[in-house]
Amino acid sequence: MTETTTRVEDAARLVDQTGPYFGRFGGRYVPEALVAALDELDAAYTGALVDPEFTGRLAELHRTYSGRPSLITEVSRFAEHAGGARVLLKREDLNHTGSHKINNVLGQALLTRQMGKTRVIAETGAGQHGVATATAAALLGLDCVVYMGEVDTERQALNVARMRLLGAEVRPVTSGSRTLKDAMNEAMRDWVTNVADTHYLIGSVAGPHPFPAMVRDFQRIIGVEARAQMLDTVGRLPDVICACVGGGSNAMGIFHAFLDDTGVELVGFEAGGDGVETPRHAASIGGGEVGVLHGSRSFILQDADGQTRESHSISAGLDYPGVGPEHSWLHELGRARYESVTDDEAMQAFKLLCRTEGIIPAIESAHALAGALREGRRLGPDGVVLVNLSGRGDKDVDTAARYFDLVDADGTAHTDGETP
């Protein structure tokens, strides 16, 4: 048992933490105008968790609509590059809409209906959460507006079209850095104005209480399934679980069921961009400091005055200058470890999975794959590494094609030259 996994034994069960605080992190830093809506949401969600009708309906949607339980796939050809350790992927990429985001969205959309609200709004970076929200809104007959930074609407044009096909209105955000954080500001402003009929469907384990705990609870099914699948197929729990961390919802989702399994190391991989030693990264824990952003206290990227610093990542979904408060707490407790993966490392892992396994991962998830290569090499042939493959890479084909020089400057594909 390692140093990082022994301290936990003194504490109460980590899975029982429900907010509003995770240690000194979390809370509610919001305009008073939103408090009533947050209290209403808290009551609705707390009630729903123990309401058999709600949990039954959600379970049915998981089974018949999203395609749960998601598979576990062992990737032995990929694992040859990971020190010979066994590597298994939790296939959230196979969910309807192509990522783990649907798990949270279906839960919150059902809650929206239950609260009698008719409209949902959402922020999105890569577009995965926006697409998932637009999908759930179409399914449940809710009006839907998605805020997306103008920079992201450009780099994720296909997902913009996808959301519009699903009937959502996409509003490009032109303020600030025109990325995910600004989309979140704009969604908050909409919510303050329209809170009577609107639910703000936050896509990550960030934001004011109860969002971090609620989104985690809707995502924890990933870990609950994976834990049973590991016992079933491998006969034991993994040594290490790897997940990418932007806001951190897929990571909390897979970590949570293992929090009190002290023999399982939990490792979150933040977007290192050009490197955490440079100004261009999105590693809030690895390269940030404690502050308040978007309604809660956590590690954030900020300057000497507390102004939010712009984040950078090749992955739009990780390009966020904050992280969920529960991750900050797990970091401070030493229960989870957080490292960073640069753009280049992530893209090499992206390519490797494509070539060795025939699976195109989301660039977000490629950060976890790069981490798995490191962890596998550290553990050697006896090690077992579980990776949360949080999304599929269809949306990233354009970015990857440019990165690997498969297209001309105008976007036309060429078939000459070396394959990457």
Partner: protein, 268 residues
């Protein structure tokens, strides 16, 4: 020094007070301070010194653009104290209005100390709830500073009472559900003020959506203070040069002060 003396004095004159907001550093620090002093010369009783923040989620497009321009121009937290000194020199109470991370980062005790030393009256905190503010309560008590929290139409009676109990100086009633400078003041504002009166004797000021003398007059008929922000920022932003911007701010202040007096007369 608390701003409450100013509200008491206005009350004794049978009128509401006029509260004006401008962000420090827009279009540059000296001009912003001159504009704040011009507000006071024009008839503003209390000045809200806005400290620009990168993620102003309570602000509409006009204030967003101005505060972003201020940040792009290099505005720093310490500039707020420069502005506070300027306002205090002009003879009006100055309260800093900003988002919590900047105070948190500066250090709550240190900020309170430096604000008091600059002659500031207190702090308006749009994204801090009294539920989460023990360290600010202690620091403001120690340095005799106002704690101004917001209340909204969605605040329950219990939260109104709790927030009023935690406040010092005055209570800031958000006139509408929304952000600064987008919609005009709604019918719910008077009702919210009436609900505040049931739980506190503290002055109640109304902000968000007040931009004309007519609206100021209307609010002065039932509130202790009328808060105007976006209209001042716009006056400064639309001027062809800093000098005429400062003059426009002063003229607007005079207009709004007349409005407040005429509306208060109706009340009296």
């Amino acid at each position: 020094m608390s701003s409450s003396a100013t509200f008491t004095a206005a009350r004794e004159q049978g009128r509401a007070a006029l509260v004006g907001y401008l962000p420090v550093g827009f279009p540059d620090v000296p001009t912003s301070v001159a504009a704040m002093q011009a507000m006071v010369a024009g008839g503003v009783d209390v000045v809200e010194v806005g400290l620009p923040y990168s993620d102003p989620l309570m602000d509409g497009p006009v204030i967003q653009r101005a505060t972003q321009a201020a940040l792009d121009g290099g505005a720093r937290t310490s500039d707020a104290f420069t502005a506070v000194r300027g306002v205090a020199d002009a003879g009006a109470p100055a309260l800093v209005m900003t988002y919590w991370n900047l105070i948190d980062r500066y250090g709550v005790q240190r900020f309170a100390g430096d604000l008091a030393e600059a002659g500031g009256s207190g702090l308006i905190t749009p994204d801090l709830l009294p539920d989460d503010a023990d360290d600010w309560f202690a620091a403001s008590e120690k340095h005799d500073l106002d704690r101004v929290y917001l209340v909204a139409q969605t605040s329950t009676p219990k939260r109104l009472a709790m927030t009023a109990g935690a406040s010092r100086g005055f209570l800031y009633a958000a006139s509408l559900m929304g952000v600064t400078g987008v919609a005009a003041i709604g019918a719910g504002a008077a009702e919210l003020v009436a609900r505040c009166r049931e739980v506190t004797d503290m002055p109640v000021c109304v902000g968000l959506g007040v931009r004309t003398a007519e609206q100021a007059a209307q609010v002065a008929g039932y509130a202790d203070g009328v808060i105007v922000g976006t209209a001042f920022v716009q006056a400064l932003a639309e001027a062809p040069d800093p000098e005429s911007g400062v003059a426009a701010v002063r003229a607007l202040a005079a207009e709004l002060a007349d409005g407040v007096r005429s509306g208060s007369a109706v009340r009296a």
